[in-house]
Amino acid sequence: MNRLYKSYIRTDALPSLFCPGCGNGIIQMAAIRAIDGLGIRENLACVSGIGCSSWIPCYLNLDVMHTIHGRALAFATGLKMAQPDKKVMVFTGDGDCLAIGGNHFLHACARNIDLTVIMVNNYIYGMTGGQKSPATPMDAVTKTSPYGAMDYPIDGCQLALTMGATYVARWSTAHPVQLEKSIREGVEHKGFSYIEVLSQCPVQGGKNLYGEKEPAAILKKYREMAKEGQVQLGVFTKDSPRTEYLERVNQRLAAQGWEV
């Protein structure tokens, strides 16, 4: 077993429930490398919602809260406010974040509270068998759009930028080096960091979304899509004058004469 992986993973919980070739494992490794590189293991907790992506932190040997569908950001906000000096990482998915969790997502961005959110976007609801998500491209055939999806897809990065998130990036599982770097930057960034990762779901979102069922082929597709501009990858914002939520609270308290 990979040594770094072994040192961070609850090995007695293996094999993981991820399908062979699932992008979640790649994201997990990038997160592990980022956490290890930053040396924040003792001061980090993870919160996740429901979905395959939300299982990523459950295999990590850290304090982890595996919560209810769409609400990870609300739990994470409470946790962060109780321990403002610690780091909190949130794992969510396209359905968890943009559908049921949409409201909490909007407000967490606007609040600009210091959380690092890794949104695993596989453009589908994988755990429940392949239904469409708000990110599913129009006309895609899924279990709940058998005649083709009828909705304009929602772009989580655009939404995050509009709502005031101060670190916004998108990568894919075919860009693990950049992903790891962004996760590091996101954790170090004082403010709401949103890192979206295009991730392959070969079983539920393969043939219907990319015309490919092999994970390696989907990864190749990601590189092509990025090169041809079909999907925008990169860091969209990282320097913003907006203050972080807890920093504002402390400023207010200091102005009132409290020692912070």
Partner: protein, 75 residues
Amino acid sequence: MANITIDKSCCKGCDICYAVCPKKIFVRSKNRNHYGTNMPDITNPETCIYCGMCERMCPDGAIDVQKEESSENED
């Protein structure tokens, strides 16, 4: 010389490693682990350039690459 190992109990036979190794060190083999998945064979580990892509891209953390000290003199 690279010591490349693949953990039998982790590998799910996803075939990603074949595609990402720039030196094509991982090849299909007849090996199956106890899950029944087809595991890779390692060929020419001495050509490994330690890019680390296999370690990053294996979703199950099965691959470990260690640089071994050569007992021969380098020159």
